[in-house]
Point group: C2
Chain length 492, copies 2
């Protein structure tokens, strides 16, 4: 064969990239501009989107114009709009404009930051931006920062380090099975810890039975006394306690575990303390919120997700640890083809985790921090917190509703409880119907949780586009819908 | 407090997004257009990039113009250009134009595809594009496809499913430690299996000792007879074999394990077979390459990374399994706040893994498949394969060089071995120097590996911009540099 047998075809021309890039930017600018006019939830059934797409890939190239047209024809009808100002479900995750442009740049550069040498700029910008964030969060200088994709993956790495810290068990070398010398390992979480911690524990071989849930107090925060007792009890029955996960801002109610007290217990008991502040951690940049974070500087690892409430597009999860050597020991493995001349003088981020592929994620964080500035980010977070506090006051003042948890940050957990409704089952059905009615308008998207048997509604504020009027609207809609639902119940 | 106490500030205006979006597209178009004029490797020392960036985040907003200027001032001097046509290191990972524009769209939509309801379009486009790819790869219809971020993470999920398949061990429920009833688990890989499999095994508690490396043959492929013997030996000494990882296209030499034979062994021994085709899997879309993939349809799980040799930007790893129920059992955990009305009728991709955050990754795959068309992708892959075959012929015809492994795909493993050089240590030093000399020109980037004690150079072709002239250039450069290095050695 000769090299001219086959012809080089290459990529899109620069002129076409410019043309279609502009078209895509126009599409997105229009999308951002009109998002409020769109329903936040789609009106479709499972399979509706699939049915609009051919069942096999095209043999011949398609025009890019057609692909852009298909965004409106195929994709938009099936969108749940996380970027929508009236999206108040789960926790907000919003792609701000500078974050989106940062992601565009990262995709175009398309490096793999596994090693310093494989892209020095990526490694060093990750070091710089994690240091910036460490200062803003008020964490000590000796915390080592690393960017993972999601909170779930960050957590798994933290728990793996906790396991590796027990060097006497030689788990890395000998594994966990078939060993009479290994005690059963116990991980402590609260009743309200996020399910990702359970998933990480399953992956790491801790098992459901190795997870002990510590009761919480009236505010849904872990009871340190109960934790202390559980650890003693477990030690006396042959378990080996190794890790506690405390949460600042739980998913259901944004409760805050007493981290300082828990940290003292962990220190005394020689347990790894992981603090999950995936959502609320962003609020640590506000001096007036620092009290919620008291003691997290004593944690072994801390997790904050800028892709939640810091306007960075998915995915970018920050993890800090004061024991990077332990994390590294758990995962470092350097085959010959990944050795470089610089290995002794640099950080090779691949050594701190499972994923070998590492996108240039720090760019979007860098762009977001610079475009808004710290003052601008603080102003936006304060605005969201104030919207939540105002809503909390309205709920408190309305006899048809009640809050079911303190509103520490920007998320309100509440339910309808009209006069005369005592039966909890009936109240749960009423609130489920109310939620369904609100979401059926497709103007707002709220989600629910269950706390102590109660069906609870959540309004999670954190979108950079959400304004006071949106929260006022959802509040009025809730009141109207409650009247409608009550009328239907009475007529039934 | 009143909601007007704090002012809504919002995001960038649509007009500014358009303006800066165009500017970013222009920057990227110019970057793509001029990439060949840039050095592929940077000329910097550790810390050089960091020193150009302030040590803390700006208090006040910065102009976007300044941020764009900093791409050239700060980022470019520290770039290892993976998109460069003369980047021939590791395996190629290239951000093609339609892939980059797909990533831009995904960042702007910024949904989390954890549940069908959390974005039906994301879930269904993931189903469609994984089905398209399944057909192109020639995998059977009953294989269930899921998109993860990286090959390492796909592998970890495959191995977790392998572990979960041993339902009798109740690992999910009871964990792995402190159990006299659990046998030691054994995972089989070859001497050339990628390090990510080791990392996954460490995370899952298998331990280094639980990993058994099966010897390979003269072509660096796993010896099925040795595998069979090892399994028997382990069973007789109390190990519990549970999983085999076979590779189609190993990292060092792109060797192909005999998957069909290994699959037969796994079937007879009731072991999970995971096939790692992270790099070479893309070639399965070529009919003339299908013979390398014989038997992979019998695997329990198969991994292919379109972000390697299918021009999709990082990160997008495809995993297929014919036992989705087992994978789901390993990881499904649905807390109340993630329940939806549709759970029984839809796929909720969060049930198939650890990450709860799931970007809209399928868009970029959809764009790439449509923009080039299957014929277009096939033509590009064939071109790369032919470039590699042509280079292999030149190496074979040159008495100063030798190939050290078959060139099955688009990667050539070779070394210099001039007449009179017999000593292996001396040859290793010579080749290390040759590599250093080539990379020091910063015109090309090659990496090395070690095979059977030999220091081996690799030329990995897979970039959409790489042309025949680039491969001819690197070949001439290698020959020139070898003469220079030899001269220096003689003069020393």
């Amino acid at each position: 064969m000769h090299e001219n047998d086959l012809k080089f075809t290459g990529d899109m021309s620069a002129a076409d990239f410019r043309k279609y890039g502009y078209a895509m930017v126009d599409w997105i600018a229009n999308f951002f501009d009109t998002i409020e006019d769109r329903p936040v939830l789609p009106a479709i059934q499972p399979g509706d989107i699939r049915s609009k797409i051919p069942s096999s890939a095209p043999k011949l190239p398609e025009a890019f114009e057609k692909m852009i047209a298909d965004i409106d024809r195929v994709i938009m009808p099936g969108m749940t709009h996380w970027n929508h100002p009236r999206y108040l479900a789960y926790f907000s995750s919003v792609g701000s404009a500078p974050g989106v442009l940062g992601e565009l740049l990262a995709a175009a550069l398309n490096i793999n930051g596994m090693l310093w040498q494989s892209c020095p700029s990526s490694t060093e910008l990750e070091q710089v931006t994690t240091a910036w964030m460490r200062q803003l969060l008020g964490l000590p200088d000796h915390f080592f920062g690393v960017i993972y994709d999601t909170g779930s993956v960050s957590t798994m790495h933290a728990l793996a380090a906790a396991r590796e810290q027990m060097a006497d068990l030689q788990i890395r070398e000998k594994g966990m099975t078939g060993r009479a010398d290994l005690p059963r390992l116990r991980l402590y979480i609260s009743e309200h810890t996020h399910s990702s911690i359970d998933k990480a524990a399953l992956a790491l071989g801790i098992g459901m039975e190795g997870i002990r849930r510590i009761p919480s107090d009236a505010n849904f925060a872990m009871q340190p006394e109960a934790l202390r007792t559980a650890i003693q009890e477990d030690r006396s029955t042959g378990w080996r306690p190794f890790c506690v996960v405390a949460t600042i801002g739980t998913t259901s109610t944004t409760a805050v575990d007493p981290v300082a007290e828990i940290a003292n217990i962990c220190e005394r008991e020689d347990l790894w303390l992981h603090v999950d502040a995936a959502y609320a951690g962003s609020a640590a940049i506000l001096p007036e919120m620092q009290h919620h974070f008291a003691g997290w500087e004593k944690a072994d690892s801390v997790l904050v997700n800028p892709h939640k409430w810091l306007f960075v597009p998915l995915d970018l999860s920050l993890m800090y640890t004061r024991k990077p050597g332990v994390l590294r020991r758990a995962f470092s493995l350097v085959p010959e083809y990944l050795r470089t001349a610089h290995d002794d003088n640099v950080v090779n981020f691949m050594d701190y985790g499972i994923p070998l592929g590492r996108r240039f994620r720090s760019i979007k964080l860098w762009f977001v921090l610079r475009y808004y500035g710290v003052d601008g980010l603080m102003a936006r977070l304060r605005y969201h917190i104030q919207l939540a506090q105002n809503l909390a006051q309205k709920i408190d003042a309305d006899s048809d509703f009640e809050r079911v948890a303190p509103t520490h940050f920007s998320t309100v957990a509440f339910r309808a409880c009209p006069a005369g409704w005592q039966d909890e089952d009936a109240l749960n059905k009423l609130n489920a119907r109310l939620l369904e009615a609100v979401n059926a308008t497709r103007r707002f998207y709220l989600t629910h949780t269950k706390i102590g048997g109660k069906f609870v509604l959540r309004i999670a504020i954190g979108n950079i586009r959400t304004e006071a009027r949106h929260i006022e609207d959802v509040w009025q809609l809730l009141r109207t819908m409650l009247r409608d639902v009550l009328k239907n119940v009475q007529n039934a």
